[in-house]
Amino acid sequence: MAVKIQLFGQLKQITGASELNSDAVDTDGLVKEITTRFPLLENLNYLIAVDRTIVQTNTFIKPGQELALLPPYSGG
């Protein structure tokens, strides 16, 4: 079951996409998959949000969840 991943800031610029689909079953798998598709992301810092909450450890991805990759913030 594919989930949609939203990309922001520099990640959106590098991948050229504001949204990607992934079949990853957990967030570690997602990072691996994205890095294989976009090797330039390997050296970038970003956080993963699942349903608008940052996850710090490997987290299972359930269908229908809202995923987002967030580069360092620079608001204000």
Binding site: A49, A68, G75, G76
Partner: protein
């Protein structure tokens, strides 16, 4: 979270007239003894020999608004604020224009000042907002926030 999610985002720069209107809207709240206001302005930094002419702001809006609602709730309770308003620009803001407006009001000054300052720090550290700095030749770099 019971509180209604408030939108903080404004398309384009925040005008001095808008700020003035918000101040004047508080004249009827006579329990207020002090307001504190922080205004963020886009700085025309020079990098190498190129000058920044604007910043393009984008956000993961639903997440930013949820987080800001929680920060707001915490600040109002912690500092017993009478009220608090936050506005952040999205889109292209030219250097010299205002992109952030934080406005806290309380019966006494210290609470208003401390709440304003803490809100600015938390907002910069915690809200998923990104600034892309645009140079005069259309090249760009991603903004990095300074510690203070």
């Amino acid at each position: 979270m019971n509180q209604k999610i408030k939108n903080i985002f404004v398309a384009g720069a925040i005008s001095p007239a808008f700020i003035g209107e918000k101040i004047s809207a508080h004249q009827s709240k006579t329990g207020i003894g002090g307001h504190s206001i922080f205004l963020g302005q886009v700085r025309a930094d020079t990098v190498g020999n190129k000058q920044i002419i604007a910043v393009d702001y984008t956000s993961y809006e639903p997440m930013a608004l949820e987080l800001m609602t929680a920060i707001r709730e915490t600040m109002i309770e912690k500092y017993s604020l009478t009220c608090m308003h936050v506005y952040h620009s999205l889109g292209r803001i030219r250097s010299g224009e205002i992109c952030l407006f934080v406005f806290t009001s309380a019966p006494h000054r210290k609470a208003a000042i401390d709440a304003c300052s803490e809100t600015v720090e938390r907002l910069k550290a915690e809200l998923p907002i990104w600034g892309k700095e645009i140079f005069e030749d259309d090249s760009f770099q991603w903004k990095i926030n300074q510690p203070a």
